[in-house]
Amino acid sequence: MPVHKPRVAVWKFASCDGCQLTMLDCEDALLAIADKVEIANFREASSAVVEGPYDLSLVEGSVTTPEDVRRVKEVRAESRVLVTIGACATAGGIQALRNFADVDEYRRLVYAQPQYIETLATSTPIADHVPVDFELRGCPISKAQLLEVISAYLTNRAPNVPNESVCIECKRRGNVCVLVAHGTPCLGPVTQAGCGAICPAFHRGCYGCFGPQGSPNVPSMLKELGELGMAPLPMYRVFRTFNAMAPAFRSAADSAVSEEDAP
């Protein structure tokens, strides 16, 4: 452990800031953390910036510009431990849908002066560019898991973040299975726990915000979604969301539709 108060920095790449807001949403727990650490860089909370190196960097967002590529290396070089937070940083986020499309075409259609837009053709997770010590899933991340990760790194222990399915959270919480009892398509069986099974608690199927669980059986899930009446295109779309680039979900979407039917 460093002799000074551990220095924590929060960094933003391409993202909606929702994961940083989750951190602010920790309220009382955040005050307790603020007491134990020096918050060196957290633009969503304060404009004050302290120079590195940092003991713990929390990185939100994906890499989408040449500037991001340069900056993420700088952040890594200045950080003892680097933890990525959220679906953007761990899987490229919703903006990774560009990876399956023509970015130049988007640029021409969306911007009046496309020549000023400097962007990469892809949105990629932080781990594609620099070594990452731990990836915290979710869109957005869970408060409890964030506090667990921060507490783990501040006390030099491994974070306790299970890669089990959402189903186990439904059962622990007392949710009735929406798939079995209501016939609602649900990605819970292939999705990693962490959200507390919020959607099924409100009678909705899981949307896969936390990405693939530790051992997802995608072909069996697709077959079941089909048997529940889900057509190939909706099945494709349900896997092309926040974690579209996570390998298991990417292959799920690819297998849901034939190549010529893919939008």
């Binding site: 134990k36 089990e164 079995v180 997802p216 077959k223």
Partner: protein, 387 residues
């Protein structure tokens, strides 16, 4: 009023059921029983008779469960739902103790295990068997689990004999039901006809007799006993499923490389649902939850499952990586090696794992498939099971 003894039978009229319910609450019991929640019959705290799923039943199939209206006002006219009584004896998350640091020393404060006595109203025969299994798991060893034992010692088990079998039921095959044996506090058999809606009540223990002291009851006629027996016999004759358990431990043990395991692994989602809904699956993981300066650490236990990849994680990797090895582990333990470990099968024939498997994997079908072509890969089996 004549004091009731173990083995006595009486009739409780439907109209007096609220008095029976009130007697449980007056005796200080927290009454847990069936109630409708989110389109299923679940077990929860009940405050009045109307909380029961009156006039409802469940239709089940592999991977399928739907509530349906009955044509009558039966109180217990359904089978089993997605939850088991285990969650009240062995909660999904439980703090076991808290440690406090004091300089270089630390002290451990055990978790209090007091609480109100519980009355489980509406236990099925298979579920009583399930509690007998978890009793052996949590209390049968050299050290009894304090939380489980405390809750179990305050438990009143009120069973209801099943009036019909569900499509996934196979308690007859497992020798656990549908009739209720002697190891129980009270047994009800719901009689809808002929005659008025009533319950044949059998006293199973002094604690059961005690709560009946001020409940209006009438003597049981011989015909009441005959009707109740006929109900149980009819249920036994209409099991939705069967499983041939003859030599099942060795059958599975000798077929660890059977191609059927690969077949089921292709369907298995490794989602853990079968283990979560199983009345006897007891696996847990324990975790320490420290505060930020590690001055206080809580030890929590939460339900875990052998279907989780991390369940067998040792020094950075899992022993049972494939879905095949995890399904095989679960089934061979449940039906086979459970006997070696606890002296009984781990399966009580309730069929929950069939209903609540999102893809409808049916263990009775899996066992039958292996039994149909045992030794299909006998040559491979001699090499022993791969992890």
């Amino acid at each position: 009023m004549v004091e009731l003894k173990v083995g006595d039978r009486r009739v409780l009229g439907r109209g007096d059921f609220p008095a029976f319910f009130a007697a449980l609450r007056d005796a200080g019991y927290d009454v847990i029983g069936p109630t409708i929640h989110d389109g299923a019959i679940v077990y929860d705290r009940l405050t009045r008779v109307e909380d029961l799923p009156i006039g409802w039943t469940d239709r089940q199939g592999p991977g399928k469960y739907r509530l349906e209206r009955r044509g009558d006002q039966a109180l217990f006219g359904y089978n089993v739902g997605p939850f088991t009584w285990k969650k009240f004896l062995y909660p999904p998350r439980e703090r076991l103790w808290t440690a406090y640091r004091d300089g270089d020393a630390f002290s451990i404060e055990p978790e209090p295990v007091d609480g109100p006595p519980l009355a489980f109203l509406g236990m099925r025969a298979c579920e009583l068997a399930g509690v007998r299994v978890t009793d052996r798991v949590f209390q049968g060893g050299p050290v009894a689990d304090p939380g489980y034992s405390a809750r179990r010692s305050r438990l009143l088990r009120i069973a209801v004999e099943c009036g019909e079998a569900g499509a996934n039921c196979f308690c007859v095959s497992m020798g656990t039901g549908p009739g209720v044996g002697a190891d129980v506090d009270l047994v009800l058999t719901e009689i809808l006809e002929p005659g008025p809606h009533r319950f044949l009540l059998r006293v199973g223990s002094p604690a059961g007799a005690e709560v009946l002291a001020r409940v209006p009851l009438t003597p049981a006629e011989p015909t009441d006993g005959q009707i109740a027996e006929a109900i149980v016999e009819r249920t036994a004759g209409s099991m939705g499923r069967t499983m041939n358990t003859e030599g099942i431990r060795d059958l599975l043990r000798n077929n660890l490389e059977h191609p059927r395991w690969d077949n089921v692994a292709k369907r298995c989602l490794a989602c853990t649902n079968c283990t979560m809904v199983c009345p006897t699956c007891f696996c847990s993981t324990q975790e320490e939850v420290p505060d930020l300066d590690v001055s206080k650490v809580e030890r929590w236990r939460r339900w875990d499952s052998c279907f989780n990849l991390a369940f067998t994680e040792l020094h950075g990797s899992s022993v049972r990586k494939s879905g095949l090895s995890r399904y095989r582990q679960w089934l061979t333990h449940k039906l086979g090696t459970w006997n070696d470990q606890f002296g009984s099968s781990g399966c009580v024939g309730c069929g929950r794992c069939i209903t609540w498997c999102p893809v409808g994997i049916d263990l009775t079908e899996e066992v039958a498939a292996i039994r149909k072509s045992p030794g299909a890969t006998a040559a491979a089996a001699t090499k022993g099971g791969s992890p």
